[in-house]
Every structure is written in structure tokens, then in C-alpha cells.
Amino acid sequence: MEALKTPTKINTFLSDTATTDRELDYSSKDFSSDQDVRWCPGCGDYTILKQVQNVMPDIGVPRENIVFISGIGCAARFPYYMETFGVHSIHGRAPAMATGLKVTRPDLSVWVISGDGDSLSIGGNHFAHMLRRNVNLNFLLFNNQIYGLTKGQYSPTTPEGTTTKSSPFGSIDHPFNPLTFSLGADGSFVARAMDRDPKHLQQMLKRAHEHQGTSMLEIYQNCIVFNDGAFELFTDKKSRPRETIYLEQDKPMIFGKDNDKGIRLDGLKPEVVELGDNWSEDDLWIHDEKDSTKAFLLSKFFEHATGENGIKFPRPFGVLYAVDRPRYDEEVIRQVNHAAMSNGSPDLDSLLRGKETWTVE
């Protein structure tokens, strides 16, 4: 991570503290702050917190170089529970705050914690702009399809028709699909995980950390009080094999209880097939994270719950899309450093004097 070439107090100060060469020997406990965690018993946030704490020792970043920034909502309390630097900011604005931090301090590992309301309603603007700029940070979108902290109103991801406190006759708002939204905003890393598959969640967190650019990881999170069981189809042991598919790079799309189903592409039209007499693995769609068109198709395994042959499309988990493209924070520093090199060292006196002066005797 390139620092500002113009000598600053921060650069000098941080090089004096000389922490980066140190041998890191953390356990997940080292990332747990002294604050009592105060989510509702059984909340999906607990397991997400635990997996993040489990992954942190493995990412090879000194604890003091990690920053968690959140907006408002249940999920937004997250930074208080991490023994790192953190800011619990304001409604929907965490992406903007993280952008300001990351472009001045590219040396930091910045994680944004957000919920479906925070990122897609009040902060929808900042969410979109963070993605298109491709700021190098990790964005964890805890999606529970409900407003938890304000006690049970429908959120921008709540399915149409849902009865909530603010929609007693059923919600008539068409919901956002967070992954389609992210792909539409040219997000360079778009992935999905769930609270009830900790191992897979850990893998996704590591992938998010490794990706250079905005890593958008949607995490299905169960709100036990206001929307219990919203994702049960995908998390319940019985229905999960039928309802989910785990994406792996260069691997065919196979799912089902006995790996007996697959997805093939007829042109750009996906269809669910039974493996056996008519179709074999060789006929299936091979997952490619770098294909944005196919990533878009996968993100739409959501609205098209039923295929033409009456079989449901499974919900994809894993990395739908991951490509490298220029990172905003890197470009900012590059411009500043380029100006520093080509315009010579800054001379405040000549700047104050300007081009045309006169002297009064």
C-alpha cells in the first residue's frame, strides 16, 4: 500500500511506531473487545462476529491496522465488539466515511459493517458510489430482510406482500436484490454467504480480504425476533441441498441431496437438469467468476424461483463475480504522488506570492 510521497506527520509517526515487521501471533480471542455483546439471544449476528474474529488471526494484518466502520442498525454495533480500531457512525454513511479513511490511509485494512436498511435505503447512494469507485475495502452486508433496531418495519430487501408493523396489508415495495444491485454498480467482487454455514462464511471473509477493490459480501442473517426463519429454506439441513448451490471456480454447477442435479445453459438461458441418462457433468455450466454476464444470471436466481420445467433454481452462495480493476484509493494516491514528483517539492512561499505582485514602498 503506497503512502503519500509528500512527507507528512502521519508517515513519520507511523514509521516510528514500526509495527509492521512484527511476528503476529493472534488467536481469535485477541479480537474480542471488553464490551458485552448485546444482540438478542439467538441472533445471527453472533455467529458472524465469531467467524470474523476467527478469520482475523489468519489475514496477517496487525490488529492496530484494522478498522471496522459501521452505520446504524443492529449490525452496526459490531465495531464495539472488535478489539481493533472502529467507528460506529451514522445512518447509511459508513461507505463514505470508510472512503475518506482509506484514501488517506491505504495502509489500513478497512471493513464496513452494514445492514439491508443501512446500505440499501438510507445509504443506497453511498453504497452505489463506493462500488463504482472500487475503493479497496471489505463491505459486509448483513441481510435479514427486516428493520431490527427500529423494531420490525419492512426493509428494502423484504419480499413483496410481507406483513410488518409498517405494512399491515402487506408490503407493496418491490425489493432490492443486493447482488444484482452490486453488479449493476460495477462492483468488482460480489459474493454471498450465510450465518448458518460458518465454514463457508470464513472462506468468503478471507476471499473478501484478499480481493483488491470493494469486496461486497452479502451475509444472510437470521433476525430471531422480527423475521425468524426468513432464510430457513437455505439453512435448514433438509431443504438446503435442494435450495442452495455452492459456487466454485471452474467447477460444474451441481447441487441436490445426492448431487443429482445440475444447471446447464441453453445459450444464456439457465435450466435445472437431472443428472443421469440425459445429462452428465460435461453438459453443465462451469462457473467462471470473471464472467459478468453469467454473474448477473446467477444473481437473478432469486426472482426466478421456478424454472420452466417446474424445478426451482437453487440460491447461489460463494463468489459470483471477482475481477481486478483500478482501485480508487490507489488512483488518488497515485495522482497526488505524481503531482508531487512532477511539480517539484511544494513551495508555500511561492504559492502565497502567486504570479503577479507589486510592491508598496
Partner: protein, 622 residues
């Protein structure tokens, strides 16, 4: 014919034309040349909010007023001596600004039937012919035709020819006021370095205007305005927005911090974004955010990381930033917030000036949310206040709002610029790293001035969490404890009030230390008030003038100073904001003079208003 040369102490010229006629450029070039000649000066550019209102109409008129002289000049002038009217709409919109007996230079090509109708003159009306202008000295010139004739051998298109007619006016006025053309010629050569034929055309027209003055029989008088007796030193001309830019660059440079500037374009603040984005080699990062809220929150994020976070806007944008400003108050991080005020409410009058955001700056956030508030008094003073705002924000870990305004932002004056070595030190320290066995870091532990330390990420052993929820004293943990909330509210206010120990005491600008009336102003009204009080002192009135740069907190001696006068009179370009603060904070019956017309005070209307209050009127709308 012998032409006479008259020496004058001061002159006000108003250039007015269609917004496509280049009047702002003409005015700026005349200003630069005049500054280089050593006159004192003030300018007032006025232009429509529309990029191009329909050509030839009154709403499309753009004007630039310049007041210059060999004496101290502090206002752009109540009325002008010379009005340049490039078309009939420009005359209609600006005639009221011309003093009786003043000079009009009218471009007759802009007074044809079509233009007269566009300016809403009746079918049988033409002010140039029908006696409307009796009592003025009117010079009717077909400037468009004269311009075209001077370019006849160049083979340019109609539009290129037409476009350089403002240079004819400039040349003519250079002749009338004995100004050299060198600076403008070198400007044109560099501006059109890639289109040398356009540079040549403009220079040709400029010279044609100059020589027309010399040879045409109609102009019999030239004027000389000698150098002003300014304080010795080296000067440059500067606008308020440019001075703000330099003040911010200087504060970053002196504090050795990167400056992060998050901003969203808005009139009249955008030039600060344009200006700062040129100085990346000073470690300046400019971020054109997606909206006002992202602009301020990104700056707070940068401040959290150890940079000097700055955001700018104008009133409506500041309203959008409100919640985030509260966050900055709560996080106790440095933040500089520039508000280039304009007339409101809501979108208001974007290109017109007003001082009506004082209450917004002091109180305009939810909860008890104290910020420091500063106000520059002149274009060049924007440099000092930008520097002071950064110093206070960094040394006191608090958001500081600068209340500039449209008049300061676009107006200009000569500036005796400082050397970097003259600038006050800005002392910044980051919290030091800690060993594993050291006692726990307390993010909200305070020093003797109640300031917490700047604890930036990347520092081992001081990992901590901050946020907008109420902080427990010392630990910074979330707290709903009632006693703690009251304590923290009072601590944050006291921290802000303690800044009074680190700012200069209030000085009297003019007048005696005791007297009948103290005229107390703030911000951009300085020039008008100083001139008005100066004239009243000459007339023998027992008045004095004090002008506030520091509004929150007030200078420590302000209360005592006001007690020395029978009356405190507060003129403001608003419906009474500082006057209310003064009444409530000091419990004295201060009286207000208000003007809410989107324009600065004229000196004469101010003198009349002050006299009315001294004669017993409760308040005056000028």
C-alpha cells in the same frame, strides 16, 4: 483637441452586459491591472444563477463593479461613476446604480429594436434617444461595429469577431483611466497560447479601444488615480475563495498533515474545490463526493485516520451535513467546515449574498452540539480565518465552521500576503503507541484544556472504538447513564468555550473606548461598517466600531467592551441573528440593522440607519 487629465481620489466602474458578453473577465482584467498599479480596491461581481439566461433579457444581465482609489477602499461602492452597458437590458438593470451626472458608455448595437423589446422597453421607447438619460454623460458607440472593423483584415468568423467586443471596452477604459495594457496582453497570450489568432484578435481589439479613446473627439478627459498609501510590502490581488484555498493549503503545510477535502459542487463555494484540486503536490486530496453527506463524512473518516479533514458548502448543503457535524462533535475529531453563505431559505438566491446562516452554524444541529464559529471580514481575511479554523480544529479536536459568503467569495482586494515563516505554528501530536502491559488506553481522557488526544489507527496498543452514541467519560464506551450525559454535554461545551483562551481579545476597529454607540459587526459587512463609522466620526458622532472574527466562542473581553457604550448597534445582512445572540448571551438590549436583499450594505444607507437607531428607533430595515 487638447485632452485634459484630472486626478481623482476614487472611482467606481460598473461593467454590465449579457451573461455571454464576458463582463466578469473584463472586470477581472481591469481589476488586476488596477491592483498592479498600486490602487486599493474592492470588487463585486454579480451574475445570474442560470448559466445562460435568454440573451438580451434583464435576467440575463451579468455585471462586475470595481471601486478603486488612492485612499483606503473597503467597499465596492454604493453607486458607480461609470456604467458600461453592452445592451439595453444591462442599462435597464443597472441604471439605478449610477450616480447622477455619471458616465454611460453604451454599445448602440445592443439598443436595436430587438434588444429593446427583449429588455421590455416599449415600441416607442429607446432610453438612448428619448431623454431618459438626461442628466448623465452618455457616450453612444457602436462597439460591435468598431470591433468588427478593427478585425476586418483577419478573416475571422462572425462569432469570433463579435466575442472580442469586451476587449474594446476594456481598452477604452484603460485609456480613460491611464492604465497600461501589458498585463492583459500577456494574459491573453497565455490564455490563447494554442489559438494564437484568437490571442492576436483580442489584443488588436484591446488596442483599438485604447486608441479610439485617444483619437476620437468625444472623449475629452482622462483620469489619473494615484497609488494608494497602503502599508509597505508586497501585494497581490485575491478573491475570498482563493484566499480560503491558500489558507487551507498553508495550514496543511504548516501542520505537516495531508489535507483531505470532501466537497460537493454548490454556488458560491465550488471555486474552493476547483482551487484545492490544483494543489495535489502539497499533499492535498480532493474528493468530489456523491453528495453533501458523503462530503462531510468522508472528511471525518480522513480526520479519524490522522489527516486534516475539510468540507465545504453553502447554506443548503450545510443543512444536509447537519447529522454528520453532530457526529464530528461527538467523536471530538478535528474538522474544518467552510460555509460560503448565500441568500436563503432553501435554495434561495444562489448567486446573491447573505449572512443568514449564523444561527445554523451556532445551533443548527440536533442535541447540544457545540462547534467553534469564525467569520472572515474581507476577501483576503479568508486566508487568516481558514488558517485559524484549521489551527483551532487541530489543537482543540473540534469541528470549526467558517462563515464566508458570496460577497467575500467572489469579491477581491489587494493582499499583503504573508511569508510562510510569519504564520503561527500549528501543534499536532498523535497518541503514542503502548506496550502490551501498559494500562488501558482511555480515548476520552482530556488535557487541561479538556482536549482529548488524536489516536490514529496504525498505533499499537491504543485500539479503541468511537461513535455517535453518547460516550462514557474517559473510556468512550456507549453510555445511557443520565449523570454521564449531562457531564459530557457540559464538557463538550466547556471544551469549545475554552478556545476563548487561545484567540485574540476583541479590539476596537475605530472610535473611542467609551461613547454613545458601539457598532458591532461580523463577517463581510466590515468594509461598509468601517467606512460608515469613519464618516460619522468625521461628522463628530460618538460612535465606535468593533468587528467580530470569532463568534463561538466570543472573545473574552467582548462583554466588558460593550458595557462602555450607551447602545450596541448590530448591522447584519439578515433578519437579526448576531443581535439575538448578543442579547441572549450578554443580556443587553442590542439593536439591529437589517438588510435582506441579497446585496451588501451601502455606506450611505448604513450611516442613515445608524443615525436612526441613535435617535431612538428600535430597529431598522435598510
Amino acid at each position: 483637441m487638447k485632452k485634459q487629465d484630472i486626478v481623482r481620489e476614487e472611482v467606481t466602474i460598473r461593467f454590465a452586459g449579457d451573461s455571454g458578453d464576458g463582463m466578469q473577465l473584463t472586470g477581472s482584467l481591469f481589476t488586476n491591472t488596477t491592483a498592479l498599479e498600486g490602487n486599493d480596491l474592492r470588487t463585486l461581481p454579480e451574475f445570474p444563477a442560470e448559466i445562460r439566461a435568454p440573451a438580451g433579457t434583464v435576467p440575463g444581465v451579468s455585471s462586475f463593479q470595481l471601486h478603486f482609489g488612492s485612499k483606503e477602499i473597503l467597499t465596492p461602492g454604493d453607486v458607480c461613476d461609470v456604467l458600461v452597458a453592452m445592451n439595453s437590458a444591462a442599462l435597464k438593470a443597472n441604471l439605478a446604480m449610477l450616480k447622477s451626472g455619471g458616465t454611460i458608455i453604451a454599445n448602440t448595437a445592443g439598443f436595436d429594436r430587438k434588444n429593446l423589446n427583449l429588455a421590455k422597453y416599449g415600441d416607442d421607447e429607446n432610453p438612448l434617444e428619448d431623454g431618459t438619460l438626461d442628466g448623465y454623460q452618455v457616450h453612444k458607440l457602436d462597439i460591435t461595429k468598431l470591433t468588427k472593423e478593427s478585425l476586418s483584415d483577419m478573416g475571422l468568423g462572425y462569432k469570433e469577431e463579435e466575442r472580442s467586443k469586451n476587449m474594446f471596452v476594456l481598452g477604452l477604459l484603460y485609456w480613460m483611466y491611464n492604465r497600461p495594457m501589458d498585463s492583459t496582453i500577456s494574459f491573453l497570450n497565455s490564455k490563447f497560447s494554442k489559438k494564437p489568432e484568437i490571442a492576436e484578435a483580442n489584443i488588436k481589439v484591446l488596442k483599438a479601444g485604447y486608441h479610439f479613446g485617444e483619437t476620437a473627439e468625444i472623449f475629452t478627459t482622462r483620469y489619473t488615480i494615484k497609488e494608494a498609501a497602503l502599508k509597505p510590502g508586497e501585494y497581490r490581488n485575491i478573491t475570498g475563495n482563493d484566499a480560503t484555498v491558500l489558507g487551507l493549503v498553508a495550514s496543511a503545510n504548516k501542520s505537516q498533515l495531508p489535507l483531505f477535502f470532501g466537497s460537493y459542487p454548490i454556488t458560491p463555494a465550488s471555486d474552493v474545490l476547483h482551487g484545492l484540486s490544483k494543489y495535489k503536490n502539497f499533499g492535498i486530496i480532493t474528493f468530489q463526493a456523491e453528495d453533501e453527506i458523503a462530503a462531510v463524512t468522508s472528511a471525518i473518516g480522513a480526520s479519524f485516520g490522522g489527516a486534516l479533514g475539510v468540507t465545504s458548502s453553502s447554506g443548503p448543503g450545510i443543512a444536509l451535513k447537519g447529522e454528520a457535524l453532530g457526529l464530528a462533535v461527538m467523536l471530538e475529531l478535528p474538522l474544518v467546515v467552510l460555509n460560503v453563505q448565500r441568500a436563503g431559505p432553501s435554495t434561495g438566491m444562489p448567486t446573491k449574498t447573505e449572512q443568514a446562516d449564523l444561527m445554523q452554524a451556532v445551533y443548527g444541529r440536533n442535541g447540544e452540539s457545540p462547534m467553534a464559529v469564525l467569520a472572515p471580514r474581507s476577501p483576503a481575511d479568508c486566508f487568516n480565518m481558514a488558517y485559524e479554523a484549521s489551527r483551532i480544529a487541530l489543537e482543540h479536536m473540534i469541528p470549526v465552521m467558517i462563515l464566508s459568503d458570496g460577497y467575500l467569495a467572489n469579491g477581491s482586494e489587494p493582499w499583503n500576503f504573508p511569508l510562510s515563516s510569519d504564520l503561527a505554528d500549528i501543534s499536532v501530536d498523535f497518541e503514542k503507541p503502548r506496550a502490551d502491559d501498559a494500562e488501558a488506553f482511555m480515548p476520552y481522557r482530556r488535557n487541561e484544556n479538556l482536549v482529548r488526544s488524536w489516536a490514529i489507527p496504525g498505533t499499537k496498543g491504543i485500539e479503541h472504538r468511537v461513535g455517535g452514541l453518547e460516550k462514557e467519560d474517559l473510556t468512550g464506551n456507549v453510555s445511557y447513564d443520565p449523570e454521564n450525559h449531562q457531564k459530557m454535554v457540559l464538557l463538550r461545551r466547556q471544551k469549545r468555550d475554552n478556545i476563548a483562551d487561545f484567540i485574540p481579545e476583541q479590539e476596537l476597529d475605530q472610535g473611542n473606548e467609551k461613547g454613545k454607540a458601539l457598532v458591532l459587526g461580523w463577517g463581510s459587512t466590515y468594509g461598509s461598517i468601517r467606512t460608515a463609522v469613519g464618516e460619522m466620526l468625521k461628522e463628530g458622532y460618538e460612535v465606535a466600531h468593533a468587528h467580530l472574527n470569532y463568534i463561538q466562542p466570543f472573545p473574552k473581553n467582548l462583554g466588558a467592551m460593550m458595557m462602555n457604550y450607551d447602545q450596541v448597534i448590530v448591522p447584519e445582512i439578515n433578519d437579526g441573528q448576531l443581535v439575538r445572540l448578543i442579547r441572549s448571551e450578554f443580556n443587553i438590549p442590542a439593536r439591529g440593522i437589517h438588510k435582506i436583499k441579497g446585496r451588501p450594505f451601502g455606506v450611505n444607507e448604513l450611516i442613515e440607519s445608524i443615525k436612526e437607531i441613535m435617535n431612538g428607533k428600535e430597529e431598522v430595515y435598510a
